[in-house]
Amino acid sequence: MKQKLTIAVASGKGGTGKTTVSASLACAAADTGHKTAYMDCDVEEPNGHLFLKPTINYRHMVGIPVPVVDQDKCTACGLCGEICQFSAIVCVNKNVLTFDKMCHGCGGCSLVCPTEAITEHSRNFGVVETGDCGNNLKFCHGKLDVGEIHSPPLIEAVRETAQGEDLSIVDASPGTSCPVVAAIKGVDYVLLVTEPTPFGVNDLEIAVDMVKELGIPHGVVINRSVPEHTLARDFCRDNNIKILVEIPDDRRVAEAYSKGELPYKGVEGYRELFKELIDTIIEEAGR
């Protein structure tokens, strides 16, 4: 492997086994000698730590700049409320009110204020924790505070923690909207995890559109695959998308998962499966 690779694991729909796959891949990569970082960017519901059980050794709060108004300097001109696209600052009855949770931290209000009444201070809305899972495997995740609506800056903060590992595995949140884009933008390869059910395939279709729009090379893992359910297989064939592996629907995997154990570690045959998968991905991504 020549260059450094960042691989994101995503899925249009939640609950397809994305975290199991990404955490297992991270272990497989580390075990085959790659210096690896696992980055959990599903900041609304981070679960990777339940399976990888890292020792957290560093934690920092993440904030965005929000306005603070010095009412003595304010002339109630109303310009700040006009520029703000997110209703996070308004001027009513000669008073300026701010709504920190709505603020995207664009800086428009402080730039536009003619009397320099607005300064910015950082408001925390989540935390990034980094740690170690032993041999070759670094861990990082972000946790969005409850009641917060705006996750992309936190996701970016998680991705910024990557430090020269050969391989970074990014666990993205489910779906296709802004948090997912923040997690997968600029990665080298996206692995889309799906189930062979009608819901699964419908959501896969949307996820494929997303990675195509972003122009990222991608492949599919069919999880909980049952031979007679061919929907996902047909879809990939018709759209010329490579299926890297089918993971069988296996009660042992479901049981291990329910206890917070990775099939990679506990269920026979899966160690080999994921080691092969990581090799395939590296090959595909290197093209």
Binding site: N47, Q85, P198, M210, E213, L214, E255, S258
Partner: protein
């Protein structure tokens, strides 16, 4: 009229399948699919679209090349990395619509007024008929923001229709997670039904979701799906919910018929008479009993 929002925190717990069955069991429902990012409910309820509308959640900036003098002000001011510098090209700057947050700062401060700032079309929303009642649903464009606004709009429309037609229930299929679209799907709703599964991740996500409903002070109920894949964890999760003041309205067993029903495009309760269907009916009946007794309580 009672609005019930079904959420799950973690995805893939069978939320949408449950919602399809609730839509079939509820008398006179309106249905709102607020999982706008990965909408699946239409695959089962088979809506006939009556009205289709564009959705604009915000504005986007775009440089008009003929007016731009390549001064670089926009590049300097944009905090979202959306203004891209193109070496040796004219104009020297362009805006990446996927990164643009829609804050308008560049457009406001451009000395040449060279940046257009116009409403973007971020998706579509629909009013449809289904065999159960009216349905409002939506499709968010790829990589779009503001799914929260779209969720609020879908709920609002469903409410209006339910009021006009004098319907008894609005069943809302909520999005996964605890972020912006989820908050938009639970604020101001009458009741939340949380669907979870007995796994370590399910437990972990449930804690976050319960925190969220408590934060917004919404009465909530819990239903455990696939409870038999880990009975010990099922008991643990039920206790967790009870201690948080959330009533458990039922357990649903694991059955592969769930996928078969999806393939046949039928709510599970119409697809089979197997015990799993009885579980679902019990969930609905218990939920309604609990809601009725709460409603009486609040009127006295």
């Amino acid at each position: 009229m009672i609005e019930i929002t079904v959420i799950s925190g973690k995805g893939g717990t069978g939320k949408t399948s449950l919602v399809a069955s609730l839509a079939s069991l509820a008398p006179k429902p309106a249905v709102a699919d607020c999982d706008v990012d990965a909408a699946d409910l239409h695959l089962v309820l088979d809506p006939q679209i009556k009205e289709s509308h564009d959705f604009s959640g915000g504005k986007l900036a775009e440089i008009i090349p003929a007016r731009c003098n390549s001064c670089g002000k926009c590049y300097e001011l944009c905090r979202f990395g959306a203004v891209i510098k193109n070496e040796n090209e004219k104009p020297a700057y362009t805006i990446d619509p996927i990164s643009c947050e829609g804050c308008g700062v560049c457009s406001y401060f451009c000395p040449e007024k060279a940046i257009a700032f116009e409403p973007a079309i971020n998706g579509q929303w629909y009013i449809s008929d289904t065999r159960y009642g009216p349905m409002v649903h939506a499709k968010l464009g790829i990589a779009e923001e503001n799914s929260g606004k779209l969720v609020a709009l879908v709920r609002d429309q469903a409410k209006k229709i339910a009021e006009n037609k004098n319907l008894s229930y609005i069943i809302v299929d909520g999005p996964p997670g605890i972020g912006c679209p989820v908050i938009a799907s639970v604020t101001g709703t009458d009741y939340v039904l949380i669907v979870t599964e007995p796994t370590l991740s399910g437990e972990h996500d449930l804690e976050r979701v319960m925190e969220l409903v408590n934060y917004f002070k919404i009465p909530a109920f819990l239903c455990l799906n696939k409870h038999d894949i880990n009975p010990t964890m099922s008991d643990k999760i039920e206790n967790l919910a009870r201690n948080a003041g959330i009533k458990v309205v039922g357990r649903i067993r694991y059955d592969r018929a769930v996928t078969e029903a999806q393939i046949k495009k039928l709510p599970l309760v119409e697809f089979t008479d197997a015990p799993v269907a009885t579980d679902l009916k019990n969930v609905w009946n218990t939920l309604i009993q609990e809601i009725n007794s709460l409603q009486k309580g609040s009127h006295n």
